[in-house]
C-alpha cells in the first residue's frame, strides 16, 4: 500500500438513524470528487451505511451520544474508522463474535462489510468505546 498524505474527511454526528443517509451520501459525493469509480463509491457507501447503523443501533442505547466517522482517501484505497461510545455488554459480545466470524443470530451486516473490504478490525476499550477500522482497496489501480 502506498504511504502518502491522504485526503481526510471527518464527521461527528448525533447517534440518530436519520443522519446516516445524509452522512453516507456526503462521503460518497466526496469520493466521487476524488475520482473514485462509481462502483467503488457505491460499495463504500454501503459499508458506511452498515457500520453507522450498527453504531447507532447497538451503540450506547440509553445515552445521547455521537458517532464519529473518519475517512482517509489515499490514491489506491480508503480507510474508514467509525467510533461510538459502545453499547450493552450483550451487544459488545455479539460484536466480538461477528468480528471473530462466529455465526450470530441477527444482522449479518458486518459479514457483508468483510466481503467488500480488505481488512476489518475492531477495538473495544475498557469503557466499551468501540472503534471499527475498515480498509478498502481501489479495484481500478494495480
Amino acid at each position: 500500500m502506498k504511504s502518502e498524505k491522504p485526503h481526510l474527511l471527518e464527521v461527528s454526528f448525533p447517534g440518530e438513524l436519520e443522519y446516516i443517509p445524509l452522512v453516507r451520501k456526503m462521503i460518497s459525493e466526496v469520493l466521487r470528487v476524488l475520482q473514485f469509480s462509481e462502483k467503488f463509491t457505491f460499495r463504500s457507501e454501503f459499508i458506511i451505511d452498515e457500520l453507522c447503523n450498527n453504531a447507532v443501533i447497538y451503540g450506547s442505547g440509553t445515552d445521547r451520544s455521537t458517532v464519529e466517522i473518519q475517512c482517509n482517501a489515499f490514491s489506491d484505497r480508503i480507510e474508514i474508522t467509525i467510533k461510538d461510545r459502545g453499547g450493552s455488554n450483550e451487544n459488545i459480545k455479539r460484536l466480538r463474535q461477528a468480528i471473530a466470524e462466529e455465526p450470530i443470530g441477527k444482522g449479518g451486516g458486518l459479514e457483508l462489510v468483510r466481503m467488500l473490504a480488505e481488512k476489518v478490525e475492531c477495538t473495544i476499550d475498557e469503557r466499551n468505546v468501540t472503534q471499527i477500522h475498515v480498509v478498502r482497496k481501489r479495484e481500478d489501480v494495480p
Binding site: 498524505k5 485526503h7 481526510l8 474527511l9 471527518e10 464527521v11 461527528s12 454526528f13 448525533p14 447517534g15 440518530e16 438513524l17 436519520e18 443522519y19 445524509l22 452522512v23 451520501k25 456526503m26 459525493e29 466526496v30 470528487v33 447507532v56 443501533i57 451503540g59 450506547s60 442505547g61 440509553t62 445515552d63 445521547r64 455521537t66
Partner: protein, 265 residues
Amino acid sequence: MNDTPNIKVEDIPSMPEVCLIRLSGELDINSVAAMDRCFTLHADNSKKHAIADLGNVTLIASAALGKLLGIKRRFVEKGGDLVLAAMSMELKMKFMIMGANKIFKVYNDLRSAMNAYAWDVKHETERVRISFPPELAIVPAVRNFVSRVMVNKGYSDRDSFRIETIVDEICNNAVQYGSPDKKDNITLRLKVDWGKIELDAENVSDADKKANLRKHMDNLKNNIHVQGDATRGRGLALVKMLASELTAKITDTGTMVHVTKLKEE
C-alpha cells in the same frame, strides 16, 4: 424501578422526566392486567414522558394495544406522551394495518426515540462537526449535507436553501483564503436549534491572503458596498444579507467565521 414478567420500567439517567418501558414476549390479554398494575404503580410519579421499547415483543393483541392507548392517554393528560420504539418489521406492519401508527409516534430504535424527545420536547441543540480537505470541489458535498440536515430538522426548503448558500460561501472563502496544504483541513461546526442554526467555519490561515479577507470584513463592518465591477467580496456581502449575524475572528494561525441564521418560516 418495577418489574413484572414481561414489563420492566427503568429510569434514563440523562432524562429524569422520561421512563423507559421495556416490554417483551407476547402482549396478549393475559399481559393487560400486569401492564395495568405496573403503570398504576407509576401513575403518580414525576415522569411525564415514556418510551416503550418493543424490540423484544413478538405479538401485540388488540387488548394490549387498547391498554397502551390508555397508558398513552394518562401521559398525555400529564402533558407528556408515550412513544414506541424498536418494533420489528412484522409488528410495524400489523400496527399499520390496525391504524395504530396514526395514534402513536413510532421510532426505529431507542436512541432515535430519545433523540426525538430531546429535539421535539426539550428543544435541545444538536451538534455536527465536519472536517474536510481545503478543496473547492468538496464544498458542494458539504453544503448539500447541511441542507439535508436542515430539511430533516424541520426547516423549510427556503430556509434550508438559504443556509446552504451561506455554507457554500463561508466554506469557499475558507478554502480560498486558507492554507492550501492538504493536511490543513477546514472545520465546519453546526449547532442546530429548534429556531436557529449557528455555523462556525474555521481554517488555517494563509499569510498572503489574510490581509484581503480582513479588508473584506472591514468593508462589511463599515457597510461599504461591493462595487459593481469588483470581482471579489460579494460572497461575504451575500452572507451578511442572508444571515442574522456574521462575525469573523482573524488571527495569525487561522480564521473563524461565525454565522447565526434564525429560522424564518
